[in-house]
Symmetry: C2
Amino acid sequence: MSILVVGSVALDRIETPFGKVDRTLGGAATYFAAAASLFHPVRLVAVIGDDFPEDRLEFLRRRGVDLGGLEREPGESFFWAGRYDYDLNSRDTLETRLGVFADFDPAIPASFRDSEWVFLANIDPDLQLQVLDQVASPGFVACDTMNYWIEGKRDSLVELLGRVDCLMINDSEARELSGDYNLTRAARWIRERGPRIVVVKKGEHGALLFTETHTFFAPGYPLEEVFDPTGAGDAFAGGFLGWLAYTGSVDEDELRRAMIFGSATGSLVCERMGLDRLVDLEVDEVYGRVREFRELTAFDHPVAPVHG
Amino acid sequence: MSILVVGSVALDRIETPFGKVDRTLGGAATYFAAAASLFHPVRLVAVIGDDFPEDRLEFLRRRGVDLGGLEREPGESFFWAGRYDYDLNSRDTLETRLGVFADFDPAIPASFRDSEWVFLANIDPDLQLQVLDQVASPGFVACDTMNYWIEGKRDSLVELLGRVDCLMINDSEARELSGDYNLTRAARWIRERGPRIVVVKKGEHGALLFTETHTFFAPGYPLEEVFDPTGAGDAFAGGFLGWLAYTGSVDEDELRRAMIFGSATGSLVCERMGLDRLVDLEVDEVYGRVREFRELTAFDHPVAPVHG
C-alpha cells in the first residue's frame, strides 16, 4: 500500500555562506517523496508550470515515485528564494512567487484513492481537507502546517486536526497553535484536538514525539559541515512516514525507529545544497547514519544501589 | 578520594513568571556541591560575607560536604539578581554585587590538597590556575568558565585549558572561545588546546560530550513545568563529576552515564525555585529520572535488509 503525498513541487534559489544555487529542484512534496521513496512506494500529487524542467524529477520515478498526479498548468512554477546566515539556523525568505500553485486544487487520481498512508505537506488546510475527502479509507494520515495557516485559517486547521493521526510541526508553530510556550503541554493541547501522535521538529536541536503513553526524543545529528538545511523537515517527514509504511506498523517501537530514520534522512540532506544529497542517496547510507544516532545516545542504565 | 570544588557561594534574588525569591542560597559551588554530594564526598572552598546565614549550608554538611574551606570575611556576600522571561530561556542580570568575592584568593586547606577530583567553577582563570598549583596530583580536573573571562582573560584561560582534563562550557561560550559557530568543530578546537573531554551545555536543548573517539548527546528533559533554571548547569556539572567519582572511572561507558546523571540532576533542579529541589533530593529520585531519560531516547536499532 503506497504513500500518497500532496504538496508543493517548486524551483528554489538558495543562498548560504557556502554556496548559491538558482532554480534548483525544491518543494515540500519533492523532499518528502525523495526521502520516503527510499523505504516505500510513493504517489505524488502536485502542480508545476510549463517552465518546469520535468527531467529533474526522473530520479523520483526511478525510485518508485508514481508521478501520475503531477499536473502541468500554463504559467510559472512555484518559486521560492531564501538566504541563510552563517549560523544556518535563521533564514530570510527573499522572494515567493506562487505561480500555478496559487490555484492548486488537488485532484487525486482514481488509482491513488486507495492509498493507505497519506502525507499532507504544508498547504492551505482547506485543500488538505479536500484531499482527505478524496481518499477512500486511509489507515494513517500525517500533516504539516505553518504559521501562515495558524494565523489565517485557524478554524480549518483545527477541523483538520480532528481528521489526522499525526501532526508534524515546528516548535515555534506548536507554541503559536496552542498558545503555550511549554512544548510538552503544547503537544497535549494538540493531541486533545485529534492527532494521537504529535511530532515537534526543533531543527538542529532534534525532534520530539508525543503520544498518549510516551515521549521520545531524537537529537539533531552534530554535523561538522552543514551546507544547507532547506528541506530537512520535509525529508524528516519522508523518512519518518517511509519507515512506518515499510514496516506496516505504528506501534511504539516502530514510531521510535521512525523518528530516528526521519532524523537520519533529514541530517543527510543538510550535507549538500538543496536536494542534491537525496538524488543518489542509498538506503544503506541512511542505516549507517541510524547506527551513528545509536552511538550518539546509547548508554547503559545503571541499577540503583540497594540501601541497607 | 573526595571531590574538591572551588567557586562562588552566594545569595540570589530570582524572578520568574512563576515566583520570586530574595536572598536565597545560590552560587555555582553551592549548586555543584549539592548535586555532587548525592554521589560522592565533596570538599568546598569558597568565601562568604558576615551577612551570610550559614545555617542554610547545614544540609550540605549532612550530605557529606566538608565546609572546612569556607572562609568568612567581613563584608557583604556575593549577591546576584536575575529575571527570566516567560520562555525561561533568556535571562537578564539585574544586579551583581561581588562583595567579599571581589578579593577571593582561594587557599586550599592542607587537608584538601590530596583531592583526586577537582571542579573549578566559573571564577577568574588566574584563580583557577592558582587552585591547581595547590592541589598535589589531581587525577581528574574539570572547569567551567564564561564569556567575561573569554573576552577579558583569554591568555590565562588558554593556559588553563592545557592543565585540565575536561572543559564544561555553554554553547555560546564554546562558539566565542573557538571562533567557530559549528559546535563539533568548536569542541575539536578546544580539545586541541588541552582538555581531552569537552562538554557543551545547551540548556533546554541538552548537552554534548566530545572526546577523541566519540560524541555523546544527552537531551534536555521535556519538563511540563519549569519553575527556575538557575543553577541547572552547575547541578549538571555536579551530577556529572559526582557520578564519575562514585564509579572511579572516566571510561566511555561511565562518561555516557555521567552525562545522563548530570542531565537528570540538572533537570530536577528546574522543578523548584533556586536550590530548593536539591535540599531534600534523594539519590533514588535521580536514578528514577535517569530511567526516564532512557525511555526518552531508547530505540532498537534495526538491521539493514540484505540486498540480493
